[in-house]
Symmetry: C2
Subunit: 138 residues, 2 copies
DNA sequence: ATCCTAAAAGAGAATGATTCTCATCTAGTA
DNA sequence: TACTAGATGAGAATCATTCTCTTTTAGGAT
């Protein structure tokens, strides 16, 4: 996704297209590792030293609010961000803080079918995400 | 789980049985809502005003390290805790911060079978958790 | 029952992550 | 080109958690 595409996505959401927003979303796509806020700030400091820390947090919040980013569910303490918008799952490494996206339409259908038939008492399902924990082989 | 059972679980893990630990684990079981650290601290302040905040954090960490508690994966910022030790899943409310446990052995088997046959490239699965987002009817 | 000490706790300071505030800048509309 | 609501910069403030040092205590040994 190049800067023009990012700009388009921002306008599509009714957000002003600012160089800071493009830089920050580019950073996340470039890092491509469900980066923490700190990772993003470090990258931005190196590549766009004039963007302030407060701006990074504000832009991240704004992108999340407008569904251009998602916060990754982790065990608390720090924010991590995920630019992939299509429904997907995550692989969590037990040994490091590595997180990878996992897409599996067959499994999605299997689970959807299951809940279509069964449902959950007192609960209307809107989204199902798998958090798969294990070890990467490399 | 009463205090005696809690004491037993602590000794079983080789942990000293202290009143603070019993109080804190009791609090979490009593709250029964995947409480945040703050929720737990508030409850402890009311019921055991002599237990200090630092102690609460230290006890929580100790219980997590010894598998008497798990941290709940949320979108960052704060810690939440889960005393249920059996493998299970979570229902997340889209409208509030309510989280409920969800156990479904049939579904567990379905997913286990699926991955037994298919596997994930370059990844050794150790645990699978569903995060189901939606709305509670009440 | 008593003694001993490593482990735990109390208290508050320190740290790190994020949010807030206010003055200034600027994207984009008219 | 002008205008202004929205965005940003910068740093202070806040919040959640960790750290440090002194004191207390659980539980094992005797």
């Amino acid at each position: 996704m190049d800067k023009k595409e990012i700009a388009n996505k921002l306008s599509d959401k009714g957000l002003r297209v600012t160089p800071q927003r493009i830089a920050i979303l580019s950073a996340i796509l470039h890092l491509n590792n469900h980066p923490t806020a700190e990772n993003i700030i470090e990258y931005i400091k190196m590549n766009h030293p004039n963007i302030s820390v407060g701006t990074v947090y504000k832009v991240l919040d704004s992108l999340v609010e407008n569904n251009l980013l998602k916060k990754v569910k982790t065990e608390g303490g720090i924010m991590r961000y995920d630019p992939l918008q299509a429904n997907h799952h995550h692989l969590f490494c037990e040994e490091s803080d590595r997180i990878e996206d996992y897409e599996d339409e067959t499994l999605d259908e299997l689970i959807s079918d299951y809940f279509r038939k069964k449902g959950i008492d007192n609960f209307k399902i809107q989204n199902i995400q798998l958090h798969i924990t294990g070890k990467f082989k490399h």
